[in-house]
Symmetry: D2
Subunit: 418 residues, 4 copies
C-alpha cells in the first residue's frame, strides 16, 4: 500500500500549491473523511472537486489505491449494523429504522453521492466505475465496492430520468461521432456510412440520454422501416438503395443496439429503449404492424465448431437448421440460452421468429455465425406472457417455422453424434 | 384494515374493466408484488402506471391504507439481514456483500424506484411523500416508511442533478404563477407585484429545477442589487422606485428564499442555491462585493413576550438590542439558536451582520418580530471557518456591532429579571 | 422649419460629445446623406445607430421636422426619372434598366433600409411609421412619405417571413402582457381572464411574429373549440365552464382577431392568419369540420339609428333581421359592405352564416350593435369562389337562412320608410 | 418561343390533373397573372405553390422560357410611368406618388414577392436567381430581370434580418456538410479536417443565416486565435498542433471567407460579417488586440507571367517585393487594385499589412501566387478613414514595411522593362 501512503502524505499539484485552494493540499484520506462529514453539506463542492481533479491525474496504480481506500477504510461496520438491527427489532419505528439505515450504508456511498454534487461529476463517476471494473476485475474487495457504485447508478439512471432523443443527420456532430465510435454491431466506417443510416426517410435512430450527462448517449438503437421482415443486413445497408416512403412501411427493424458506457454495465436500458421506440414509432406511423430485430448470433460458430459435424452441414439450409437448434435448445447450466443476444431479447419477451443464411457476409458475420442472422419478434400482445414463461422456467417462445427448423437441427446433431 | 382489504379485493375503475388493461384489475397487493419481482423489469411500466393511477383517485383513508401496506408488507426481514450479515463477516467479498445489500433494503424502496419508471412519475412521488408526511405525522410506522422516501429522494435530487434557472418576466406564465403561489416570506399579491420583483434591471430571481420535474421549481431566491446593505423591506419593494443600473450595484441582497415542495422536506437546497447564485452573480457583475440577506426573525416576538419585559423596551433601539441578543444568545437545548432562520444561515457559514428596526412594517412583520429584520452576511473567505465552528461547538459568528448590541440586550434582560 | 434647422446645427448629446463617437456630432442632414452614400456600406451601422438614438430622444415637433426632411430633401428627382425613362425606352437592357430603377427610388427608401442594419432597428422603424401616421395624418407630403415606408414594410413583412407561434399559458409573461394590452375585440381584464382564454384544453391562441421583432406579436387570433356554432360570446367566455375535450370538438370558432402594431397599418395579415390556423388545427384535430367566427358588428347600431325606425323593431327577432340586412345589403359607394368587419371576412372569401341577438350583452356590445353578433363561415371548398365574386362585383355569399332574414329586414325598412 | 407556348398550353402534371388542385392546370401565364391580381391576396399561396412546383420540374430550356415570360410580359409600361410622372410633377402628394410608385414597379416584382408567401419559398427563389444568373449571363433582357431579383433580395437579406451563428463541432451535421461543400478558399477534405478547424479551443467559425432559410449558411468565416500575425497557412492548419488557450491569444486571424449562395451574388455580407465577428470576439476575449486576415492573392501569378521577368526574380524575397507591388500599385482602369481579394478588404477599410513567401505551398497556392499570401489588417480606429480614401480616390492604405517592399518591386519591374 505504499503508493496510497504516498498519495496520503503528499499529493498536491501545482495548481493548488500556489493557487486559491491552498488549504486543500491535505492528504486524500482527510478529504474523503471531510466530504462525508457534516461539513460536506457546506464546503462539499470544493472538496469534491478537489478529489475529482486529483483522480483525473492519476495513473492506474494510484486509482487502484484510491479504490482500495474506499473498499477498506470506508466500508461498513458489522458491529454497528448488528446493534442497530437489534435495536430495531426490539423497538421498530422511525428512530430505530433511521439508525439502522444509517448503519447499513457504508460511508463510501455517501462519498460517491457527494462527489456527484460537482457540476459534470456524473460523467466522471461513470468513467470512474469503468476504471473500477477494469482494474478490479480479479479483486473481490473492489468488486464488492462496485456493488455500491451499481446500487447508486441504478437509482440515478432510473428509467424515469432518461430522455429518449432521436438521432438524425441534423444532430450535433460531437454526438454523431460518438454514434460512430460506440456502434458495436455493424461498424460504421465513415461519415457517409453514418449518413446512410440516418438521413434516408426510412431510417431512424434513437438514444437514451441522462440530463446530467447530456452529451453522452447511454444506449442507442438503429431502425430500418421496411415492407416485410428482412433477411440480410447487406441488403438493409446497401449503398444507393431507394428509400421507402415511411408511410408505406409495415415493419420496423431494430438492426443494431449498442450500449455506450462501460461504466454503466449491468444497468439495463435495452428493454426500455426497444419498447419506447416501438411505441413512439407506431404512434407516428400507424402502418407499422411488425416490430422485429435483425440480430447477430455471436456464439454460433464457436458452438458449432465444438459439435464436430461433417463438412457438408455447412450449406445454407443446414446452417439455418443448426442455428435454430442453437438458439432455442442449446442451454447454459441455468437453463437459459447459450447465446447472449438470444438471452437478452427472450428476456425482454420477444420470440425467435426466423433465421437466415448469408445474412451477414462481412468477415465478422462469417466468423461468428457463418453469415447466419436471426429475427426476434416483439409481438406486443404476447411480450408479457413470453417474458413470464422465460423467467419462470426458461421456456423459449418461437415461431412454428423456427421450431421445425430446430427439430431438423436436432436430428442432424444426433446423427452426427452416432 | 378493512379499507385496505377492500382495496385489495376490489379496486378497478371503469377504464380498466373494459379497456386494454383488463389484466390489471388484480388486487393492489399483487400489483406491488409484481412490480418488485423480476417481471418488473419487463412489464414494470404498465404495472407502475396502474398503481399511480389508482393512487391518484384515492381519498386520504385509502392512501393511508396504501402506506400501511408498504410499511408492513414490504418491510425488511431482520432474520434475513442477520444471516446475510453473518455470512458477510465470515467471508467478506462481492457475493456476500451483494446478498447483504439486498437483505438490508426493504422491498418498498425498489417499489418506489420502479414506480418512478413511468414518465412524469417523479412529480407524483414527491406529492405522494407530501401526503405521507401529512397523513403519517403521528404514526411511527409511516414515519419509518418516510425514511425510505427521503433516502431515495436525497439520491435523486442530488445537487449534481439540479439545474439553476433564472426566473424573469420572460419566464413562462405557468412557472410564474407557481412563484406567486410558493412565495413564503413576503407574499406576492398580484402579477404587477410579481413584475416589480422580476422586471427591473436591479432585480433577479433564481430557482433550482430537477430535469424530471421540469415545470416545478424546487426552491427559489429573490435578489435585489443595491448600493450598500439595505435595512428595510418596504424600501426594497417600494412601487415606483428608480431601478439601479446593475453595474453600479455593490451588494446582492437575498431578501426571500422559499422552498416549494413539501414532499421534499428535509432535502436541503438552500445552501447550494445561495452559493451558486452568489457565484454566478459575481461572475456577471464584478462590482458586487457584498452578499447579504435581509431576513425575517420569525420567533422574536414570541420569545420576547416570554421575557415579560416592561413596555418601554419596545422602542426601536431596545428592539434592535434585544433582537441581537435573541439571534445570537438565545439557544435551544442543543446549543443551536432558537431562531430557525438564524440556524439555517449560520449553518451555511453566514454571520449575523446587522439588525434593523421598522424594517418590515407589514402586519406579518409586526406580529412576528415587531418589525425588526436582520442581515446575514455571506463572506466567501470566512464561510468555511464559520460553518466549522458553528457545527463543532455552536459558535455564532457576528459583526462587532452586532456583538455590542447583543451585550446591551443581555443587560436589559438581566435588569428586567431582577 | 426652424426646429429642424436647430436639429441640424446642434443636436449632439453628452454621450457623443465626450465619447468614442465624437465625429458624430455632425448635423442630421450630413448623417442621412452619409448613410445613403457608398460609405454607408462600411460605416453604416454606426451612423444608423446615431440617427435612431437621436430619434428616440425627440419630441413630436422634432420628429415631424425629421419626416419633412425625408419628404423634401430625400425625395425623388423627376428630371432624373424622365431622362432614365427615355434612355430605357431607346435601349432597354440591363444598364438602362438599372439606371431607371435607381432613378425612381427616392433616397429615403435606401435610408430606411440602411437604418434597418442596426440590430433591433426593425421594431424602431415600425414605431417610427406609427409616429408618422399619427403626426402626418393631415399632411399630404408626409402621407406620400408613408408610401415608402409601407412599400418597404410590405416586402419585409412578407408572409413568407412570418412565423406562426401558439400563445399559451406556458408562453413568456412579457408576451402575454402584450396579448392583454393588444386585445381589441373583447377586452381581457386580468391575468385570470387571460388564463381562461389560454389554459383550458378547448382554447387556443395563435400569433404571427417576425423573426427580427421576436418579442412583438403582429396579429393574434383567439379560438374556441366547440360542438356546434356558438351564438353568444358570454357563454363562450363564461367563468367556471367545463372545458370540452378537444377531440370531441367539431367546430373552431375565431372569436377575436387583433392587430397589434399601428406601424404596420395596411399590411394585411388577418387573412393568412385565419387560413394558416384553420389548416394547422384541422391537421391536429381531424374532427374539426367547421371554421367560423363569432364577430362583432361595429357599425350596426349607428346605421340603425339613421334609419329612424319605430321602437318596436328593437326586439331580438327584428334586430336579427335588420342586422342581416345591414350586413349584406347596406353598401358603400363602391358597392362594398358598410360594415368594416364584414368587408374583411367577405374579402377573405368567407360567407355570412348566422346572426344572433343577445350575443354580446357587454356595454360595448350593446352600444355598437344592440348585442347582435354574426358568424362568418370559412368553407374551404368555397373560399376561392366567394372571394372572386366579391372582388369582381361585390357579390356577398350568405347562407339561405341569412338571406331570408335579410329579406324580412328589407321589408321592415321599406315599410318604415313609407 | 415554342417551348413556352408549350408550357402555356399544356403543363400540368399528374398530381394536379386528378388531385385536389384541379383548377390549377391553367396555363402558366394565367397563373402568373392571377398571382399578381387582387385575388393573389386570398388564393395566392396555392397559386404560388403551383408555380414553384412547376418550376422545380423544369429543365433549363423551360426555365429560360419562364424568365423570358417575366422579362417581356411582366415588364413595366413606359407610357404609364410617363403619365404618372407627369401627374406627380403637376400635383405631388400622396395620391400621385402612390400612382407613380405603382407605375414604376414592374409586375414581376410583385410576382416574386407573392411567390415568397409559400413556406420555404425564399430558398427556392434564391436558387431561381442562381439559375437566372447562369442561364441569362449573355442575355441582356434576363440580366435586366435580374435587377428586380437583386433589388428584392437586397431588401429581404438586409443586415438587420441576418443572424450571426457560431459554427462549431456541436453544430448539426447537415449544416456542417454545407461548410465542407461551400469552403472556397482552403478546401476541407474530410470530416477530420473540418473537426481540426472547429473543435480546438483556438479555432472559431461564424456564419450569417437568414431566418427564412435557416438551414443554409449565407457566408461564413473561419478564424484562428494566435499569438502574433501568422505567415503561413500550412502552419495554421497543421495536424497535431497544440491548441493555444484562447485567453493567451492576442490576434484573431480571418483565414477563410466563403460566400455560399450563388443566388445572392452582389448582395454583400462579407464586410458586416468580419466586423460583427471582430466585435463579438473582442468582447469575449479582451486580450485580442489585432484583427487580421491571411489571404490568398488569386491574380498574382497570372499578372507576374505577363511581366516577362527573368527567372531569378522568383526567389522568396523578390516574390514578396513583387507581390507588394502587385497588391498596391497594379491597378484596373478605374484605379482600383487588380486583385479582387485586395479590392474587397481595402473597400472594407482594411490596410495591406504584410506579405509572406512559402505561405501556401498547396498546388492551388503555388499556381495562383507562387505560394505568396498577404495579411490585411482591420484596425478599428482607421477603418472609416481608410475606406473613405479608398472610395474617393482609390488610395490604398499599407504598412510602412509593405510600402518599402512595393518600392523595391517597382524597381525590379522597371529594370526588367529596360
Amino acid at each position: 500500500m505504499s503508493i496510497f501512503a504516498d498519495l496520503l502524505s503528499n499529493v498536491f499539484d501545482r495548481r493548488y500549491r500556489f493557487g486559491l485552494a491552498r488549504e486543500d493540499d491535505r492528504p486524500l484520506s482527510e478529504l474523503t473523511a471531510d466530504l462525508v462529514s457534516t461539513a460536506g453539506d457546506v464546503t462539499g463542492q470544493a472538496v469534491a472537486r478537489q478529489i475529482l481533479d486529483r483522480y483525473a491525474g492519476w495513473n492506474d496504480d494510484e486509482k487502484r489505491a484510491f479504490f482500495h481506500h474506499l473498499a477498506s477504510e470506508m466500508d461498513l461496520d458489522p458491529e454497528a449494523v448488528r446493534s442497530a438491527l437489534d435495536a430495531y427489532e426490539v423497538a421498530p419505528g422511525k428512530a430505530s429504522y433511521r439508525s439502522f439505515m444509517a448503519a447499513v450504508e457504508p460511508p463510501r456511498q455517501e462519498l460517491i453521492r457527494r462527489l456527484n454534487q460537482v457540476p459534470g461529476a456524473t460523467r466522471l463517476l461513470v468513467m470512474m466505475r469503468s476504471d473500477l471494473l477494469r482494474l478490479g476485475r480479479d479483486d473481490d474487495a473492489l468488486m464488492a465496492l462496485d456493488i455500491d457504485f451499481r446500487h447508486l447508478f441504478a437509482s440515478w439512471f432510473n428509467r424515469g430520468f432518461l430522455v429518449l432523443r432521436p438521432i438524425s443527420w441534423e444532430s450535433p456532430a460531437h454526438i454523431l461521432e460518438k454514434i460512430i465510435a460506440y456502434e458495436a454491431v455493424h461498424a460504421i466506417d465513415s461519415w457517409d456510412d453514418l449518413r446512410r443510416r440516418l438521413q434516408p426517410a426510412d431510417r431512424r435512430c434513437f438514444a437514451f440520454f441522462h440530463p446530467a450527462v447530456s452529451d453522452e448517449p447511454l444506449i442507442f438503437v438503429e431502425v430500418a422501416l421496411t415492407q416485410g421482415v428482412p433477411g440480410s443486413i447487406q441488403a438493409l445497408l446497401a449503398e444507393g438503395r431507394d428509400p421507402l416512403p415511411p408511410e408505406q412501411a409495415n415493419t420496423a427493424v431494430f438492426y443494431s443496439i449498442s450500449n455506450c458506457q462501460s461504466g454503466l454495465a449491468g444497468i439495463s436500458f435495452g428493454n426500455s429503449l426497444i419498447k419506447q421506440v416501438a411505441s413512439d414509432l407506431s404512434t407516428e406511423l400507424p402502418g407499422l404492424k411488425t416490430f422485429v430485430t435483425l440480430s447477430p448470433i455471436p456464439g454460433f460458430a464457436r458452438w458449432l465448431a465444438d459439435q464436430h459435424l461433417p463438412q457438408e452441414t455447412e450449406d445454407g439450409t443446414a446452417l439455418r437448421q443448426l442455428a435454430a437448434y442453437y438458439l432455442t435448445r442449446a442451454k447454459r447450466g441455468n437453463g437459459k440460452p447459450l447465446d447472449p443476444v438470444a438471452s437478452f431479447h427472450l428476456g425482454n419477451g420477444a420470440l425467435v421468429h426466423a433465421v437466415h443464411a448469408d445474412a451477414d457476409v462481412s468477415p465478422k458475420g462469417r466468423a461468428q455465425s457463418h453469415g447466419v442472422m436471426v429475427n426476434y419478434l416483439y409481438d406486443l400482445s404476447r411480450i408479457s406472457q413470453n417474458h413470464e414463461k422465460f423467467a419462470s422456467d426458461a421456456t423459449i417462445a418461437t415461431s412454428n417455422e423456427l421450431r421445425s427448423l430446430a427439430q431438423v437441427g436436432e436430428t442432424i446433431l444426433k446423427e452426427a453424434a452416432q
